[in-house]
C-alpha cells in the first residue's frame, strides 16, 4: 500500500487487549482518508444512539494518506467519536507534531473501545503498543502530563492528553497535543476521560511508502516555491498569524461582541494582530514541517501586565480572541492570552469555554444569575472573573460545574436557551452568521454543529480569497456551503491543514477546485482521482457522517441556529440584518440529494455506493 500503512491499532480498554487490524486499498480509496475510515469504523462498530460517555462509544484517532509525507502541512489528524456535548458526531482536527509521529508508529488509525477500570495511557513505539498505568498522571495538567510521560518513555515522544477538564467529564474538554495544540471541539476530551484514557504517546520513524515519489517531490517543490514567494511578499498569515482577523471581522460587523449581541467591539484595537505582535510575540511557531508557521509563541510578562496574567505558551488565535475577548467584552490582550494558556493547560476548548462564560455574563447582566450562584460578580469585561471561571470549570468547582456543561445546558437550565449561541449545542466560531449567509448555513447543517473547520465560507464571503462574493446574499449559498463542506472534508481526510492547503493546493480563483491536492493524493497513494471524483468521494464521507446523525435521532429541526441569529443586528454595518434559514435550507438539501427532512435519499446513497449503511 502507498500513502498508508494499511494498519489500524485497536485498543480495548475494558479488557486491556490491543490488536492490529488491516484495511484494504479499496477501502482506503472508497472511504477516503482518516476522516472517511474513521466514520466507517464508527458506523461498523457502535450504535450511534449510544451514550457518548459510556464504554459503548468509540474514539478514533485518524491520520490521513498525506500525513507524514512531504506534502506541505501533511501534519494533521482527526479525533472522531460521538460528542457528549452535542450528541452528534465529533470530528475534531489538530496539527503540531503528534499527528506526524502517530503516523510514524506504523499505524494510520488508533481505535479505542470500552473503558479502563483505572487510568491508563497508550504508548506506541514503532508498532510496539502497550497500555501503561496512569494513576500518577491523573489530576495533572497537560504540560505536566506531557513532561512526565516524556521522562518515563523517550525524549522524542509526542503526547496527546487530557487535563483535569477531560477527567472531570467537562463537556467542553479538549484533547491537547504537544502542549499547545488542541483537537478542541465538542467535548472529545470528556470521551477520553470517560474511558480513563489519560494520554496517547507516540514515537517512531516508519514513514509510509509513496506511489510516485518523484512526481510527489515535483508537485511539492512547486507548492513550496509558491508558498515561499507568498511569505517573501509579506504574507499576512506570516506576520500576524490568525490574529490579524479581528481587524477584518470587526470592520464587517461580524465580530462577536457581548455574546453575539453586537458585531463590533470598541476594544478591537487592543486585542488585534498588531497588539499581539508588539507586546507579546516571542517568535513564530509552526506545525511539523510547515513553511508558513502561523502559530504565535507568546509570553505575558507579569511585571508589565500584572502577575495574575503572567504566563507563556502559544496563541491566542483569532477564534480565541473572539470567544475569550470580544464575546466576553474583554479588551485586555494579556488576560486573553492567559485565559488561552489556562485552557490549554487544563484541557478546555477555548471557543466553547469563552462562549459559555459570555453566556453566564449575559445572564448576570440581565439579572438571571447573581453573585449567590456565581460566587462573584461577572459583568462583561471582567477579565479576572473570566479567568476564575476557566479554572473552576476545568475542575467543576462551584459555578464552574455549570460552565463545564457548555452554554446550551447552562442557558436552558435558567430558562434562557436564547442566550446560548450554538448550533446543535456547539458554540459558534467568531463569525456572526447574520453577515455571512454561507457561514450561517454551514453552522446550521454541519454534522458537528457550529464549526468553522467544517467548511469556512468566510474565505470567499469575507476575506475574498480567490474571489470576493457578497456575504449578505442568499443566492448560490446552498451550493457554496455544500462545496466548502466537501472541500474541507478532502483536506481533513488527507491529513492536511486548511489554511495552507487553500493557499497553494486548491484553485480558489476558479471556484475552489482541489487540483493540486488531487495530484498529491494520487502521487502518494496511486489512486487515479480527478478533482471531480475526489469531490464525490468527499461527498460519500459527508453522507456517511450524516447517516450517523440520522441514526442518532437528528432531524431537520436540529439543522438550525441560535435564536439570536433570527433577530435583527442592533447596530453597526449590519444593522437590521437577520438570518433567514428558510431561504436556503431546502436548496441545501436538494444540492445534497437529501429529502425535505434532511435525510440522504436511497437514490443518492446508491449512487455513492453506501446504501447498505442506510
Amino acid at each position: 500500500m502507498h500513502g498508508w500503512h494499511g494498519r489500524i491499532l485497536r485498543v480495548n480498554l475494558t479488557t486491556g487487549t490491543i490488536r492490529e487490524e488491516t484495511f484494504s486499498e479499496e477501502e482506503a480509496h472508497k472511504y477516503f482518508g482518516g476522516r472517511g475510515l474513521a466514520i466507517k469504523v464508527l458506523l461498523d462498530g457502535m450504535d450511534p444512539a449510544a451514550d457518548p460517555l459510556s464504554p459503548d462509544n468509540l474514539l478514533v484517532m485518524a491520520t490521513g494518506p498525506l500525513t507524514s509525507t512531504p506534502a506541505p502541512t501533511g501534519n494533521r489528524y482527526m479525533v472522531v467519536t460521538k460528542s457528549p456535548l452535542t450528541g452528534a458526531l465529533s470530528n475534531s482536527n489538530s496539527g503540531g507534531v503528534f499527528p506526524t509521529m502517530m503516523k510514524r508508529t506504523g499505524y494510520d488509525l488508533f481505535v479505542f473501545e470500552g473503558a479502563a477500570v483505572k487510568p491508563v495511557y497508550l504508548y506506541v513505539d514503532e508498532r510496539k503498543a502497550e497500555l501503561r498505568d496512569a494513576i500518577h498522571l491523573w489530576g495533572l495538567e497537560t504540560h505536566q502530563t506531557d513532561d512526565t510521560i516524556r521522562g518515563e518513555t523517550a525524549e522524542d515522544v509526542s503526547v496527546a492528553c487530557i487535563g483535569p477538564a477531560g477527567e472531570k467529564l467537562a463537556l467542553i474538554a479538549a484533547i491537547i497535543n504537544d502542549k499547545h495544540r488542541a483537537a478542541a471541539r465538542s467535548g472529545v476530551g470528556a470521551v477520553m476521560g470517560s474511558k480513563n484514557l489519560k494520554a496517547v504517546a507516540v514515537r517512531g520513524d516508519l514513514k509510509p511508502k509513496l506511489y510516485d515519489e518523484k512526481a510527489m517531490r515535483a508537485v511539492v517543490r512547486e507548492a513550496n516555491s509558491q508558498l515561499a514567494a507568498d511569505i517573501r511578499a509579506g504574507s499576512t498569515m506570516r506576520i500576524y498569524g490568525t490574529s490579524y482577523v479581528p481587524d477584518v471581522t470587526n470592520e464587517a460587523g461580524v465580530f462577536p461582541t457581548f455574546n453575539f449581541q453586537y458585531g463590533q467591539f470598541e476594544g478591537t484595537p487592543r486585542i488585534n494582530g498588531p497588539t499581539l505582535k508588539e507586546h507579546f510575540l516571542v517568535r513564530h511557531g509552526g506545525c511539523y514541517g510547515c513553511p508558513l508557521a502561523c502559530a504565535r509563541i507568546t509570553e505575558v510578562k507579569g511585571e508589565v501586565w500584572g502577575e495574575q496574567y503572567a504566563g507563556a505558551g502559544e496563541g491566542p488565535e483569532y477564534e480565541t480572541i473572539g470567544s475569550l475577548g470580544s464575546a466576553c467584552g474583554v479588551d485586555n490582550m494579556a488576560a486573553i492570552a492567559k485565559a488561552n494558556y489556562l485552557c490549554n493547560e487544563l484541557g478546555l476548548d477555548t471557543i466553547s469555554t469563552g462562549l459559555t462564560i459570555a453566556c453566564a455574563m449575559e445572564m448576570y447582566t440581565k439579572g438571571i444569575v447573581g453573585e449567590e450562584q456565581l460566587g462573584r460578580p461577572l459583568p462583561f469585561g471582567n477579565a479576572d472573573g473570566m479567568i476564575a471561571m476557566i479554572r473552576a470549570a476545568a475542575r467543576r468547582e462551584g459555578f464552574g460545574d455549570e460552565i463545564a456543561e457548555g452554554s446550551w445546558r447552562l442557558a436552558s437550565k435558567y430558562g434562557h436557551p436564547e442566550m446560548s449561541i450554538t448550533a446543535k449545542k456547539l458554540e459558534f466560531p467568531s463569525y456572526d452568521a447574520r453577515g455571512l449567509k454561507g457561514m450561517g448555513l454551514l453552522y446550521a447543517t454541519s454534522n458537528i454543529g457550529a464549526s468553522h473547520m467544517a467548511g469556512d465560507t468566510a474565505y470567499t464571503e469575507l476575506f475574498g480569497v480567490g474571489k470576493k462574493i457578497d456575504g449578505l446574499t442568499y443566492e448560490g449559498k446552498a451550493e457554496l456551503t455544500k462545496h466548502f463542506q466537501d472541500i474541507f472534508a478532502i483536506i481533513d481526510a488527507a491529513g492536511l491543514c486548511v489554511f495552507v492547503t487553500l493557499r497553494y493546493a486548491v484553485d480558489t480563483a476558479n471556484g475552489y477546485i482541489p487540483i493540486r491536492v488531487t495530484e498529491m493524493i494520487n502521487h502518494a497513494t496511486g489512486t487515479r482521482y480527478t478533482p471531480d471524483t475526489l469531490l464525490e468521494t468527499a461527498e460519500r464521507v459527508y453522507n456517511l457522517e450524516r447517516l450517523f446523525l440520522v441514526k442518532a435521532g437528528f432531524t431537520r429541526a436540529d439543522d438550525t441556529l441560535a435564536q439570536r441569529m433570527f433577530e435583527p443586528m442592533p447596530a453597526g454595518p449590519l444593522k437590521g440584518e437577520t438570518f433567514d434559514l428558510h431561504r436556503v435550507l431546502d436548496d441545501y438539501y436538494i444540492a445534497r440529494g437529501w429529502d425535505a427532512n434532511g435525510i440522504p435519499t436511497r437514490q443518492r446513497l446508491e449512487k455513492l455506493g453506501i446504501a447498505h449503511y442506510a
Binding site: 509579506g234 504574507s235 499576512t236 490579524y244 481587524d247 480569497v465 489554511f499
Partner: protein
C-alpha cells in the same frame, strides 16, 4: 469630497506617516469617484490580492463613493 481610508492587517505598514492606524485617514477624492479608481491610487503593492469593503459591506469596483464613506482594504489572506 472626503472619504476615510482604513488599511488593515499587514497593509497597516503602507499607511501614510503620522496617521492613526486604527482610525484610518481622510482621503480627498473627486466627487462621484468610483471605488476602483480610488483603490488604484492607494499605497499598496501592485499585483497584490486584496479585498475591500465600503462602510463595512461588500462593494464593487464600479460603485460610486459618497462623501464620508469608509473604504477598508486588507489583503485576501484567509480565515482563522
Amino acid at each position: 469630497m472626503l472619504i476615510t481610508v482604513r488599511l488593515l492587517a499587514s497593509y497597516r505598514q503602507y499607511l501614510p506617516p503620522a496617521h492613526d492606524e486604527d482610525a484610518g485617514y481622510l482621503h480627498e477624492v473627486s466627487d462621484g469617484a468610483r471605488v476602483g479608481e480610488v483603490l488604484a491610487a492607494l499605497p499598496i503593492p501592485r499585483g497584490d490580492f486584496y479585498t475591500f469593503l465600503v462602510n463595512g459591506r461588500h462593494a464593487t469596483r464600479d460603485q460610486a463613493l459618497h462623501e464620508g464613506d469608509l473604504l477598508s482594504v486588507f489583503p485576501a489572506a484567509g480565515g482563522g
